[in-house]
Amino acid sequence: MIKIENLHVHFGAVHAVRGVSFNVPAGASFGIVGESGSGKSTVLRALSGLNDDWTGSMRIKGTQLAPRRGKDFFRRVQMVFQDPYGSLHPRQTVDRALSEPLEVHGMDQHERRILQALSEVALPPSVRFRYPHQLSGGQRQRVAIARALMAEPEVLLLDEPTSALDVSVQAEVLNLLADLQERRGLTYLLVSHNLAVVAHLCPMVGVMQGGEMVETVSREDLRAGRTVHPHTTELRRLSTELEEA
């Protein structure tokens, strides 16, 4: 579904992504972990069309992506951001936020689609005419996920979708993402600094450091400690050390 080859991104003199390549089959999940500044979010932003200054090759369903994307791309690929406080318009109701993708893509049956999306992310219909500040962090992230689903995409790009949430809410959102994937056959690309979260959702994990993807490892190998690159080993050690406490 997603095929990225030799992706490079420069910001002025800074070479932020240095030749990253990976594949994500349709209906699968791929996770990217790394620390701040490793370039993980930059990969996601280049793929999503938020940054058009890149070189290399990116394909979705075999179609080569140009720096400027057409409308069809934005219907098929949707993104969920880390901070649900920042990614929802504070003066727009949930109804307005969910209607917008429908209008942009000229879709019909707004009423039915909005109600269905709310029920799909397990929000009560009463949330529909509320403003973001009237919702909890977890509810807001559900709205952000519902909005991403409105255009019936095939690919969801998830940038730290649970990092701003409490662990109990994180569990609910991760379960929701797993259910949605199963129900809709979505392809996920998940970026996170949390190795346990990535391994929970994704069978394959790419580890980034200094703009390079230093290792691609299956979650079974990761769990069993069969890692090759020292950075992967270090991240794994820090993650498991606390679990054993």
Partner: protein, 275 residues
């Protein structure tokens, strides 16, 4: 140094009535590392900050006892509180980006803190600041002394914050989510550094965090807060024996690298926990 809190309540007036953020918390702290863990809104930060009386203006505090080394915090005036704040008890916040002054060099801020509390000269203060930077394991203290906060990484910034808090030689350090904004590798370094400093100086530490495994790994004792109350207190390494369903729920709902969970258990919040 001893902090005693008995039946602490913190309330805020709201449009719909009084909202109780902390409800009857009692804690006793000696020279030890105490962790306070809870989710957003559990009252963990308010509880710790009440020791310094650093609460929003609208907060209404009541307690049977709230004392810092015998000083009654509830009745202490501002100048008495100022003798505690910074001087005897330091506060480290989550993000050094916001808690350091952006237009002063790191060194000037540490030196200011040192002079304020130790009443020394400028040259002495500079030497002390460089020494403190070395104590927080900064390799090149001379360079960092002259650097502005924006020139430092998150981990370096947090070290500068810690150095500044150590300048007056406090007896208690309150660290409110000190590593939540940092990468995992840096987080481990900062915690190790704090552990080392606390042990070497014989300080008490209150570590506030939402991360239960992290805190129990690091502290002697952990208080778990839920909806303004302490629901359970655990000794170090007793995490596996946690009894309260909320504590168990917090542990179970985390994805773990070591053991796969096909589906994460979701917490069902029992209204009885609020009682």
């Amino acid at each position: 140094m001893r902090v005693e809190i008995q039946n602490l309540t913190i309330a805020f007036p709201t449009a719909t009535g009084i909202s109780h953020a902390v409800r009857g918390v009692s804690l006793d702290l000696g020279t030890e590392k105490l962790g306070i863990v809870g989710e957003s809104g559990s009252g963990k930060s308010l509880t710790a900050r009440s020791i310094l009386k650093l609460l929003p203006r609208s907060a209404r505090i009541t307690a049977d006892k709230l004392s810092f080394d015998g000083i009654d915090v509830l009745t202490a005036n501002e100048s008495a509180m100022r003798a505690i704040r910074g001087r005897r008890a330091g506060l480290i916040l989550q993000d050094p980006k916001y808690s350091l002054n952006p237009v002063m060099t790191a060194g000037a801020q540490i030196a200011e803190s040192w002079r304020m509390h130790r009443k020394g000269g400028a040259r002495e203060a500079r030497a002390a600041a460089i020494d403190l930077l070395a104590q927080v394991k900064i390799n090149d203290p001379g360079r960092v002394f002259d650097a502005y906060p924006h020139e430092l990484s998150g981990g370096m910034g947090q070290r500068v914050m810690i150095a500044m808090m150590l300048a007056p030689d406090p007896e208690l350090l309150i660290a409110d989510e000190p590593t939540s904004a940092l990468d995992a590798t840096v987080q481990a370094e900062i915690l190790r550094l704090m552990e080392d400093l606390v042990a070497r100086r014989g300080m008490s530490l209150i570590l506030i965090s939402h991360d239960l495994p992290l805190v129990s790994h690091f502290c002697d004792r952990v208080a778990v807060m839920y909806a303004g109350r302490i629901v359970e207190q655990l000794g170090a390494g007793e995490l596996a024996q946690a009894k309260h369903p909320y504590t168990r729920g917090l542990l179970d709902c985390m994805p773990a690298l070591s053991q796969p969970k096909p589906r994460l258990p979701v917490m069902t919040r029992d209204p009885a926990w609020l009682a």
